[in-house]
C-alpha cells in the first residue's frame, strides 16, 4: 500500500515537472534542456527512474519466482545492504568517472545480482520442497538463460570497452559479471543435479559428492578471479576496498569446500577399506532401519567396529563432519585398528542399540554422570551400606513430580516409626557404623537427616530388610533387659553383703557407660545366643526372685564380658572385710543410680 502510494506520488511529481517544463518552453528540445539544467527537476526524474527499476524488479520477481519465501526475502535484504555499501565504496574509487550513466550501470549490476541470489536460494529450495511443479522448472531455466545472456553481454561489453578505450570503470563491471557468470554456472549445475535426483526413483547417493566437487571448482575459479581483479586494480587505481568482503567470503568458502572434500575423501576411504559391508543376516538381526535417514537398509550399508549399521551414503556425509559413530560416539578413527578395544564395550553398554534408541527414551540433557549414571551401580559398590537401596530410576524416566527434590528437604516426609518407643528408659544409642557386618542392615543413625527420596528407598520393598531391622531391635531389647537384670542382681548382692565392702572396677563405676559397651558388642551374636538360652522373651522386666537372678547371671555368664567380670568381682570381693571411705561412696552412688534406673523402668 505504501509502495503504491510512493510510486503514485513519484509519477505525479514527474508529470508535474514535465508539464511545467513543456508549459514554459512549448517545444520538446528546450523542455528537455530545461529539465536537465534544473537540479530539482533532475532529482524528481532520478527518483522516478529508481521507482521504475523497483517496479521492474517486482514484475520480474513475479514472473520468475512468484511469491518469495520469508527466508529468501531475508537473504535478499541482508545481501542488498552489503552490496549497496560496497557500491558506495566503489563510487569513491571512480569519483572521476561519476556520471548518471555510471550510476545506472551500478544499479543494473545490483539489480542483476539480486536475481542471482534469488535464483541460488530457489534452486537450493528444490532439495527441500516436496513438490516441484513444471512451472518451477520453466521459471528457473528461463531465468538462468536470461541471467547467463545478460552476464555474457556485459562481459563482452566491458572487454570491448577496455580494449578500445583503455582501463576504466568497465574493468570493475567486467569482473563483477565474470563472478556472476560463475554463480550462474554453479546454479545450473546444482539445478541439473537436483533434477536428476528428483526424477530418479532411488536416492542418488553420489549427489553429495558431485555437489561438493562443484563447490570446490567454482570456489577455485572465483578465488582466481578475485585475486586477479585485486591485483589489476592495485596496479591501475588503488586498493579496491569494496571487493575485500566478498573476496574474504569467497576464500573462506573455498577453504571450507576444500576441507570438506578432503574429509569426504578420507571418510570414503575409511569406509571402503576399514568397515565391512553389512550382510543381509546382520541387517535382519538389527532393526534394518538406518537411524540417520530413518529408511530401510536394502542397499549398500556398512557395519562399524561398534556393530552399528548405517547406509553407506548417510555414514559418509556424517563422517565428513565427525569421525564418530552416530549412535555410540565411538571414535572410529582411533578404534578402527583395534576391534577389541575395551572402551568400546563400555560405551556399548551405556548406549542402547539403535532400535531402542528410536523408542521414546530421550537422552537427558542434564544427565549428570556423577548422580544419575552411577546410581545403578551404587548398590554394588556398598553392598552392606547403611541404606538398603534399589537402583535409582534413570533420570529421564523419573516422573517429573519432584522438581523440588533436594537432599535436605525432609521435614514433611514422615520417617518410619521411630523404634525407641519400645524401650522408654533408654535413648536410642548411637549405633556404630559397621558396613562389613553382614546380616542385619543397620538403620542410619539419624533418619531426619535423610531426604524423602532416600527414606522412600529405605522403606523399600525388601521384606527381609525390615525383618532384619526388627530382629535387630529385639536383640537390643534383650540385651538391655539382661543388663537390667544384672544390675538388679548386683544390687541384691550388694544389699545382702551390706556389711561387706565392695570394690568395683573403674570401668563399671557408671553403669550407663558400661551398658553402652555391652550394646556395642556384636548385637546379633549376643542376642542370638541369649535367645538360644531361651531365657528372655518378655518385653518388660518384672521383679525377679533371687534364684531367677542367679539363673540369669549364670546363663549370661558365658557371653557377656560385663557379667563375668562383675561376677568375678563379687566373688572375689566378698572375702574382703575392711571398707574404705571411698569405696563406701562408690557403693552409695551405684545404689542411687540403680534406683533411678528402676524408677524409670516402672
Amino acid at each position: 500500500m505504501r509502495s503504491l502510494g510512493i510510486s503514485m506520488l513519484s509519477v505525479t511529481l514527474t508529470t508535474v515537472v514535465i508539464a511545467n517544463a513543456y508549459y514554459q518552453k512549448k517545444q520538446f528540445y528546450p523542455s528537455v534542456v530545461y529539465i536537465t539544467k534544473s537540479n530539482p527537476s533532475m532529482a524528481v526524474i532520478y527518483i522516478q527512474a529508481f521507482i521504475c527499476v523497483w517496479i521492474t524488479g517486482k514484475l520480474m520477481r513475479k514472473i520468475f519466482f512468484g511469491q518469495l519465501r520469508t527466508t529468501e526475502f531475508e537473504h535478499l535484504m541482508e545481501r542488498s545492504w552489503y552490496a549497496i555499501t560496497e557500491t558506495c565504496l566503489a563510487f569513491t574509487v571512480f569519483r572521476d568517472d561519476f556520471n548518471p550513466k555510471f550510476v545506472a550501470l551500478f544499479t543494473l549490476l545490483l539489480f542483476l545480482k539480486s536475481f542471482h541470489w534469488l535464483a541460488e536460494d530457489r534452486v537450493d529450495y528444490m532439495e527441500r520442497s516436496p513438490v516441484i511443479s513444471w512451472l518451477f522448472h520453466i521459471r528457473v531455466l528461463s531465468l538462468l538463460l536470461l541471467l547467463g545472456f545478460m552476464d555474457l553481454y556485459f562481459i563482452q561489453h566491458a572487454y570491448q570497452s577496455t580494449i578500445t578505450k583503455g582501463a576504466s570503470v568497465q574493468l570493475v563491471f567486467g569482473f563483477e559479471y565474470a563472478i556472476l557468470i560463475t554463480v550462474v554456472a554453479n546454479i545450473a549445475i546444482k539445478y541439473g543435479l537436483h533434477s536428476v535426483d528428483l526424477n530418479s526413483e532411488t536416492p542418488w547417493d553420489n549427489k553429495a559428492v558431485f555437489l561438493l566437487y562443484t563447490e570446490l571448482v567454482m570456489g577455485l575459479i572465483k578465488v582466481i578471479l578475485y585475486i586477479a581483479f585485486v591485483a589489476i586494480m592495485v596496479r591501475i587505481y588503488t586498493l579496491p576496498l569494496f571487493a575485500f568482503r566478498p573476496m574474504y567470503y569467497t576464500i573462506r568458502n573455498f577453504k571450507k569446500a576444500f576441507s570438506d572434500v578432503i574429509l569426504s575423501r578420507r571418510a570414503i576411504h575409511n569406509m571402503n577399506t576399514l568397515y565391512p559391508d553389512a550382510t543381509p543376516d546382520e541387517l535382519r538381526a538389527a532393526d534394518n532401519v538406518c537411524i540417520i535417514c530413518r529408511e530401510e537398509m536394502t542397499t549398500a550399508s556398512k557395519k562399524l567396529p561398534c556393530n552399528h549399521i548405517f547406509h553407506t551414503s548417510c555414514l559418509r556425509s556424517w563422517f565428513q563432519r565427525q569421525q564418530t559413530c552416530p549412535t555410540c560416539r565411538l571414535n572410529i578413527l582411533n578404534s578402527s585398528t583395534n576391534n577389541n578395544d575395551p572402551r568400546q564395550d563400555q560405551r556399548r553398554r551405556v548406549v542402547p542399540p539403535p532400535g531402542a534408541a528410536a523408542a521414546a527414551n530421550p537422552p537427558n540433557p542434564f544427565y549428570n554422570p556423577y548422580l544419575a549414571g552411577a546410581n545403578p551401580f551404587q548398590i554394588f559398590n556398598q553392598p552392606n551400606g547403611p541404606q538398603p537401596q534399589h537402583p535409582a530410576p534413570q533420570a529421564n524416566q523419573q516422573p517429573p513430580a519432584h522438581p523440588n527434590h533436594t537432599p535436605n528437604i525432609s521435614e514433611n516426609a514422615a520417617p518410619p516409626q521411630a523404634p525407641n518407643q519400645t524401650f522408654p528408659a533408654f535413648a536410642f544409642p548411637p549405633f556404630p557404623f559397621l558396613p562389613f557386618m553382614a546380616p542385619p542392615p543397620m538403620p542410619p543413625t539419624n533418619l531426619r537427616s535423610l531426604s524423602a527420596e532416600e527414606l522412600r528407598r529405605m522403606e523399600g520393598n525388601e521384606m527381609e530388610n525390615v525383618e532384619a531391622r526388627i530382629q535387630c531391635l529385639r536383640n537390643i531389647q534383650v540385651m538391655l533387659d539382661a543388663a537390667i537384670v544384672m544390675m538388679q542382681q548386683y544390687s541384691a548382692a550388694a544389699a545382702i553383703s551390706s556389711q561387706i565392702p565392695i570394690r568395683i572396677p573403674s570401668n563399671t563405676v557408671q553403669p550407663n557407660s558400661s551398658l553402652h559397651n555391652a550394646t556395642r558388642v556384636n548385637p546379633s551374636n549376643e542376642a542370638n545366643s541369649s535367645r538360644q538360652n531361651g531365657v528372655l522373651t518378655s518385653n518388660t522386666p518384672e521383679p525377679l526372685t533371687n534364684s531367677d537372678k542367679e539363673a540369669y547371671v549364670s546363663n549370661l555368664n558365658g557371653e557377656s564380658s560385663l557379667s563375668s567380670t562383675m561376677n568375678n568381682e563379687i566373688g572375689t570381693e566378698s572375702d574382703r572385710s575392711s571398707p574404705s571411705p571411698e569405696e563406701e561412696v562408690r557403693r552409695r552412688r551405684l545404689q542411687k543410680f540403680l534406683q533411678n534406673e528402676q524408677n524409670e523402668q516402672q
Binding site: E127, P130, S200, A357, A360, P365, F366, A395, A401
Partner: protein, 167 residues
C-alpha cells in the same frame, strides 16, 4: 527422489502423527515447507509449568539430520535454560564443536540419531528439571536457586498467559 533431509523430516512427521508422545504436538507450519515446524508442549505434571501449553518453532537446516535444528519458544518463557527471546539452550541442540556454555561433553550433543521427538521430550524434562549450571537466562537460574517461590509464581503467571486465562 527428494532430498534426504526432506525425506527424513517427512518420516519423522509421519511417526509423530501416528504415535504422538504424550503432551507433545509437532508438525510443519505449512506442508509446502517441511523445514519449519511448530510444536506445542504441555508443561509436565507436578512442576510449576503444569497445565501450560507452550508453542515453539523449530527451524531445520538443509543438512538435517547432520546438523541440529534450532528451537525457539514463541510464547513468553521464564526458565534457566531458555534465553529471553525464547531460544532453547540444551546440549542436544548443539552440534559437536560449538559449546556456548563451555561445559557440555560431546556425548550429550547432537547426533543424527536424535530426532524431533527426542528434542521435544528433552525440552519437557528440561522444563521439569532446569539445569541452573548453564544459565541461558541468568536471572531465572538465580531465582530458581535462591527464591523458588517467586520462580513458581512467575511460572504460573506464564502458564496462565499461555492458556489465555486472566492473571
Amino acid at each position: 527422489m527428494a532430498g534426504s533431509a526432506l525425506r527424513r523430516l517427512m518420516a519423522e512427521y509421519k511417526q509423530l502423527t501416528l504415535n504422538p508422545p504424550e503432551g507433545i504436538i509437532a508438525g510443519p507450519i505449512n506442508e509446502e515447507n517441511f523445514f519449519e515446524w511448530e510444536a506445542l508442549i504441555t508443561g509436565p505434571e507436578g512442576t510449576c509449568f503444569e497445565g501450560g501449553v507452550f508453542p515453539a518453532k523449530l527451524v531445520f537446516p538443509s543438512d538435517y539430520p547432520l546438523s541440529p535444528p534450532k528451537m525457539q519458544f514463541t510464547c513468553e518463557m521464564f526458565h534457566p535454560n531458555i534465553y529471553s527471546d525464547g531460544r532453547v539452550c540444551i546440549s542436544i541442540l548443539h552440534a559437536p564443536g560449538d559449546d556456548p556454555m563451555g561445559y557440555e561433553t560431546s556425548a550429550e550433543r547432537w547426533s543424527p540419531v536424535q530426532s524431533v521427538e527426542k528434542i521435544l521430550l528433552s525440552v519437557v524434562s528440561m522444563l521439569a528439571e532446569p539445569n541452573d549450571e548453564s544459565g541461558a537466562n541468568v536471572d531465572a537460574a538465580k531465582m530458581w536457586r535462591e527464591n523458588r517461590d517467586e520462580f513458581n509464581r512467575i511460572a504460573e503467571k506464564i502458564v496462565r498467559r499461555t492458556l489465555g486465562i486472566p492473571i
